[in-house]
């Protein structure tokens, strides 16, 4: 049996006295869209950072298709096929959109500085291919024609998409999306949802995402994991999570689960 795309075993990450992620076990099956949700400060991004190599967890193991990756430097992890985006967009601002995507292709290219000086055949071929790929990706995210504008001059939604394109450029098998629809208007959100689905369906990329917008999460996720105070409190398909008391309490505070139950009933009554 093929191992899952990501499997974390008892991953724990502490900052001083604070345990940001506490013995989390997580399984992300291949070619799925999985989501991590939870209130602010639940440790979602910390877990993300552990997976993408920014942090080294104090305890536990992270397996990527069965191979342990915890503690590896981020560029090695990227090379293995994990790419990510960031909660607060972190593009290379002074570079153009195309260049951003070209940087994303860094791993898949092999030419070095000497090739660059002599412009040998390998260099020319590789650069040409890279440029073609970049333009295709621009097309894919609907930014063709804007490729030569600086990243910082792009509109917000376009920056989010460009960040995804940069991540895709490294041909990842796993894509980590940190709040991909944050700050977007409904129409942009719809487009983003479609894009994410496309990624999975067309490019067969496994997707793990953090998202606050429940409609997005419920619509596209195959599997949802809920974190609170660094602990996994629930896991399952969207409909299971929707009705999980613990989750509702985590979001709205203790005792609210019953309240909402009542409210629901009331609503039903009115209906």
């Amino acid at each position: 049996m093929k191992p899952p795309a990501i499997q974390t075993k008892n991953v724990t990450k502490r900052f001083g006295g604070l345990t940001a992620v506490d013995a989390v076990n997580l399984v992300v099956p291949e070619s799925s869209i999985s989501s991590i949700i939870g209130p602010n400060g639940a440790g979602k991004t910390t877990l993300f950072n552990c997976v993408s190599g920014f942090y080294t967890p104090e305890e536990g193991e992270i397996l990527f298709f069965g191979e342990p990756i915890q503690g590896l430097p981020t560029h090695r992890i990227c090379k293995m096929g994990i790419a990510r985006t960031y909660q607060n967009i972190r593009l290379f601002k002074e570079m153009t959109a195309v260049e951003n995507i070209l940087v994303g292709q860094h791993c898949s290219m092999t030419n070095n500085w000497a090739d660059a000086i002599f412009h040998d055949r390998r260099f020319r071929r590789e650069e040409e291919n890279a440029l073609n790929t970049a333009c295709e990706l621009l097309d894919f995210i609907g930014l063709s024609g804007l490729g030569d504008s600086l990243a910082l001059n792009l509109p917000y939604g376009a920056q989010r998409r460009l960040e995804i394109a940069r991540a895709l450029a490294s041909h990842p098998s796993l894509l980590l999306l940190d709040e991909p629809t944050a700050g977007m208007n409904p129409q942009e959100t719809e487009e983003m949802k479609a894009l994410i689905k496309n990624l999975r369906d067309q490019l067969k990329i496994t997707i793990l995402l953090i998202e606050h917008d429940m409609r997005v999460v419920m619509d596209i996720s195959d599997k949802i994991t809920v974190l609170d105070y660094g602990v996994k409190i629930a896991e399952g398909i969207p409909s299971e999570i929707q009705n999980n008391d613990k989750v509702i309490e985590a979001y709205l505070g203790p005792g609210t689960a019953k309240m909402t139950e009542k409210l629901k009933q009331k609503n039903n009554n009115y209906a």
Binding site: K79, K93, T96, H106
Partner: protein
């Protein structure tokens, strides 16, 4: 409301008054007046009589007043004519009063025989008489006051008139548009034509680069040679600071390593190795590169200013060690290495013209290499690191290796520049490698425009050429240079010639378009 309106005039008056007093105390008034005299062509006759210098001095005062008036009118566009002129007069009066008072006080002391020179060396007897227009303090003070006020009034009027009709604004937009249009035309022109123009231009420029060293004499050969060496250094540091964003303040260390390696390998003293020049150049470059690698390995994971101070320290360490008693046996200590060999070709030693040509050629090659590096996977990874190191690494770039490569390449170029520097001067000593060299090169990179290659050429020209040109200003050149540096950063922080982005997407479309055209017939 009224107070607010006057405020501008008061502040300008105070500022300009203080500036003028500063100019008087540093003796710059005399230099400035002489310059005016030079411009008017009456300087030659100046020596004989006192009248002309005084007129020049008054003109200089007037010029300052004029500038003052102009700057008062700049601030409030909404001001009425009356308010604007009132402001100018006020500024003129205040500045004039300040200067007049200083002249009055110092002048009175001076006429009582007080000698200021122990504290203010520029206020000697002769200079005081000159500043007093060879009259009484009171008369001179009044002259300053009147000149300043009148000139400020005129300046204010002119400024107001110009702004009123926003004539300058019109002309500005007109020029901008024209330039844009010309640019568009050039761009829109068919590419074969463009190519021909470019090639023609290249030939002309290349010809000039070849011809100029032949005609402009040894002084300019020497100065431009220095500029060329600094361009090489600038290109090297630009790879480190401009491309990969690592603030290295000890770049001089690699320059010194290159120069000393070359000098010690070729000079008859202290080691008499007398190696072949070209081989020695190669070894110098290699040694500098290794120094760069060795320094980079432990410290390149430091960030920002920590890296800056560590490299600064390294530069100082190298310089102090070179001149120390500890290494005198190796480096000849503070005396430096003399009789460093000059390069020769086919048995003939380079003349200064040859040398300048050779340096120009190297600069062109280095520019070419840097340009190619910049537009490659390597160059992009550097710029990505500059923009956001963490993300760059997460995007798959081995940041440490990449930074190390940048440092090594930068060090190699510095080593080359150092070897050339030593051989051209036929001498190298520890005093050539002070902290100010690193600072100068950094200034070149930033003044030219971070990460911009043509910027480096312009920057080196301005920073190494300008002080030579400013030699006309004698003692004041470094003062002016410092002030220009500040002004330049405020007016044009992006640099003289900021880096331009290559339009890759457009380029691809162009090339595809060309292909299609080729296919169709």
């Amino acid at each position: 409301m009224k107070q607010n309106k006057i405020k501008q005039g008061v502040i300008t008056g105070l500022t300009f008054g203080l500036i003028f007093i500063f100019l008087i105390l540093t003796g710059f008034t005399q230099v400035g007046s002489d310059m005016i005299g030079n411009l008017l062509g009456n300087f030659e006759k100046a020596g004989a009589e006192n009248a002309l210098p005084v007129i020049n001095l008054i003109l200089f005062t007037g010029l300052i007043g004029l500038l003052m008036g102009l700057s008062t009118s700049k601030a409030n566009l909404s001001n009425t004519w009356l308010a604007s002129l009132l402001n100018s007069i006020l500024a003129g009066l205040i500045a004039g009063l300040l200067v007049g008072a200083v002249i009055l006080v110092t002048g009175s002391f001076h006429s009582q025989g007080v000698d200021f020179r122990n504290y203010l060396p520029k206020l000697g007897s002769e200079q005081m008489n000159y500043l007093l227009h060879y009259t009484t303090p009171l008369a001179a003070g009044t002259t300053y006051l009147i000149t300043s006020t009148v000139a400020s009034l005129i300046g204010g009027a002119i400024g107001k008139a110009f702004r009123q009709q926003s004539w300058t604004a019109h002309s500005m937009t007109w020029t901008k548009n024209t330039v844009k249009n010309i640019g568009k035309k050039l761009k829109l022109g068919q590419s074969p034509q463009r190519k021909i123009i470019t090639i023609l231009g290249l030939i002309v420029a290349g010809g000039l680069l070849y011809l100029l060293p032949l005609v402009w004499g040894s002084y300019w050969n020497y100065t431009m040679g220095t500029v060329a060496i600094y361009i090489l250094l600038g290109i090297g540091l630009n790879i480190i600071v401009g491309f990969s964003g690592q603030l290295v303040l000890g770049y001089v260390a690699f320059f010194a390593t290159g120069a000393y390696t070359f000098a010690l390998l070729t000079a008859p003293q202290p080691h008499a190795i007398l190696m072949n020049v070209w081989l020695a150049v190669g070894i110098s470059v290699i040694v500098s590169t290794l120094t760069g690698l060795l320094l980079g390995l432990p410290i390149l994971n430091l960030r920002g200013d920590y890296l800056a101070i560590v490299t600064l320290g390294f530069g100082e360490i190298v310089r102090i060690l070179i001149r120390s008693d500890l290494l005198t046996f190796l480096t000849n200590g503070p005396k430096g290495v003399t009789n460093v060999v000059q390069p020769s070709w086919l048995g003939k030693v380079f003349s200064d013209v040859n040398y300048t040509h050779f340096l120009f050629l190297l600069v062109l090659i280095a520019l070419f290499i840097a340009k190619r590096l910049k537009d490659s996977r390597t160059g992009r990874s550097w710029i990505a690191i500059r923009e956001d190191q963490t993300v760059a690494q997460a995007t798959g770039i081995n940041t440490f290796k990449s930074k190390l490569l940048a440092l090594a390449l930068g060090a190699a170029l510095a080593g080359l520049a150092g070897a050339l520097f030593a051989s051209r001067n036929q001498f190298t000593g520890p005093e050539d490698f002070t902290l100010m060299v690193s600072v100068n090169v950094l200034c070149i990179v930033i003044v030219g425009g971070m990460g911009s290659l043509p910027g480096i050429v312009v920057g080196a020209m301005v920073l190494k050429g300008l002080p030579e040109i400013l030699r006309e200003l004698d003692d004041y050149r470094l003062l002016v240079f410092g002030a220009l540096l500040i002004a330049m950063m405020i007016i044009r922080p992006q640099g003289l010639w900021p880096a331009k982005k290559v339009s890759l997407e457009l380029q691809r479309k162009d090339s595809l378009g060309d292909n299609i055209q080729e296919v169709e017939p």
